[in-house]
Symmetry: C2
Subunit: 451 residues, 2 copies
Amino acid sequence: MPVSTGPPTTYHAELAWLGDRPEPDVLIEVGDEGRFGAVTALSPGARAPAGATRLPGLTLPGFANAHSHAFHRALRGRTQEGLGTFWTWRERMYEVADRLDPDSYRALATAVYGELALAGITCVGEFHYLHHQPGGRPYADPNAMAAALVDAAGAAGIRLTLLHTCYLSAGVDGAPLAGPQRRFGDADAHAWADRVGALAPDPDRWRVGAAIHSVRGVPADQIPTVAGWAADRSAPLHLHLSEQRAENAACLAHHHRTPTELLADLEVLGPRTTAVHATHLTDLDRTLLGDTDTGVCACPTTERDLADGIGPARSLVDAGATLSLGTDSHAVIDMFEEARAVELHTRLRDERRGHFPAAELLAAATVAGHRALGWADAGTIAPGARADLVTVALDTTRTAGTDPAAVVFTATAADVTQVVAGGRVVVRDGHHVWLDVPAALRTAIEEVATA
Amino acid sequence: MPVSTGPPTTYHAELAWLGDRPEPDVLIEVGDEGRFGAVTALSPGARAPAGATRLPGLTLPGFANAHSHAFHRALRGRTQEGLGTFWTWRERMYEVADRLDPDSYRALATAVYGELALAGITCVGEFHYLHHQPGGRPYADPNAMAAALVDAAGAAGIRLTLLHTCYLSAGVDGAPLAGPQRRFGDADAHAWADRVGALAPDPDRWRVGAAIHSVRGVPADQIPTVAGWAADRSAPLHLHLSEQRAENAACLAHHHRTPTELLADLEVLGPRTTAVHATHLTDLDRTLLGDTDTGVCACPTTERDLADGIGPARSLVDAGATLSLGTDSHAVIDMFEEARAVELHTRLRDERRGHFPAAELLAAATVAGHRALGWADAGTIAPGARADLVTVALDTTRTAGTDPAAVVFTATAADVTQVVAGGRVVVRDGHHVWLDVPAALRTAIEEVATA
């Protein structure tokens, strides 16, 4: 695996997405520190410098995938047999979780992050709760599984925010973790914090954020410890919120408040916080999230696979929440599909077109996702920003003849030709530069899949 | 363009979809008349004959696309600017319709049918109403536009059912066609029938079916003429049904019946009839469609693009209707996506997984679609059936590590490697054998697109 970002390079993009639209003939300098230098549009008729590397098609900022469970990729196309209910999926998910060790987790995550890279994702937020040995005993290095993810991101050439997840209970009533869940847990939030404190991130390659699994997974009296850890470090704080109605019902029964109300009372909401899914909300919930500037990470391809329902993305954004996107369970890894599904699912529900303009969807996939993961200096093609680029072919069967400004509605991951992450070319001609991603996926999944 | 189907061939499929599941090591003979000969599974350990052509991956029967408006492909990614409402789309659609002539229509449809071929579609039902010159004057050959479609299907190497559409009025009240709609119309249903009667199909390559645009497009007193024409010839009869709520409201106001009730009263329903969309139905409507064994063609990627809503696919099939699939407006051309969207949209609505097993979705995309288009002898890999094959790679980033039986949930059109239509290889290594489809799309669309 190459480790340097290579010498300074100048790209000449046929079209580059600057701000909120494609601009023709853009020169993009990439410095040796993995950041953009000058970004300039060529004057009409001017020629690009001789040494510039031509990027045909449309070049976008790198995508940030704000919500990933890498190991769920082993379930793709393996939970649909017969009628494949939610319980089929959950049972398989726990079986795979039970089988992983640091080596197989590293191998699987490397392959999955390779697939992310091929889809143009240059930074991933891994919602990581597979901490300990099956049964719950810590590994000799209590962060051995986290280290496997850090290795994997490095091996795939993308940046990582390790959203180190506190997961203590199986229900809002504080029921203990049982069976395959036991390896997810720490004794309490302080034990979680001690363990996270032992991590030594490399701020150009990987960073640490905190995560509260959900109001089910962390008892209310433990939540402030996790939130406080993140606040003390100005780190991102993520949590699953109201993905399915059952969570709301249980929370109302136990706490006499919705999950959002509970989190508001615990002072967990705010601009560093990202609520993942936020599918089933009351009007008050939406106001609380919006008024506090809380981020919302939609994962529509997972939400349709798991039958979660259609979330109120438009009204959340209108209320003040910032939208990011995640491929979550990796039933699909395609940020174009993820982004347009926000619009298309809203159309299905409201029977009306035209909720999110293309630029707003691309902002969710790029700059907003990076911000949700704690990378305020990434997600735009601008001087000084981290040099992440995704080039999309405009001459494939899918994109031919379409307006480049609407590429989020027409392209697929298969149309990504080149990806630059932190200045380094990771994908070229639609192939990962140094990984055989399909072979790595097959080997890693055969190792851990159960059906 | 090659015209012969070539000499007899034996394929050795790593996996072939026989009946309702993938079987390993299947020998598939293709005769020189474009039909399958013997289809036999190799005994375990036996070797394939030396001359057999290996097909790695999973080989499925050819897909039938039961509902196409070829010219709508020119709108892909061109109706989303700003907030892109339904009216943006409809205005652009009429602008494109207004610009086409037989030559540009032939060029555009050839490119679109090439894209269909690349997606594994070996037979298309074209819901054709772009009949006359702008303003409504017939061409010297009054079927010149139909002939362009026939040429296009031949040029792309796929079979066609020309669903020759009667379109007479702009509303259920019989309001006359106006503006760009005028080229769609005939004087009455008899004039339509006279014109259709002049067509001379080639029953191995293209056939004719009848279509009633909708209860808006054909006044109730003209509908029996169109239905009778189809009945006299045992030809398929297609119609748009209850795609949006406004159609139901107008029909109730004018006819005091739902569109389905009106069609039942006119004796239009039955096993040769396919209702396209059938999105907004009453319980009685569903019973009427099911009891009469009427086909239903779902077009879920278009229905989400146009914000039609989520149709009752599961309960329609349970009531007795047969499900087929169409890519309709070609916002997306991907039969895997179309098929799984039937399940996934139902999940979004019902918040429950497990409505359609994979085999049922693939049957809709293959055998049921062919039957809806009047090709009872196609859509299965079986002796005597038309030799249509779609081979899907199982070693791409999308399909690696997944269960081949669930390929409809994991593959995309980009994973199709080889397509055989009527015995002839049309797609090889993911490329059309003799068409440059992206270039043809771009050229044809630039000729007619307006924005």
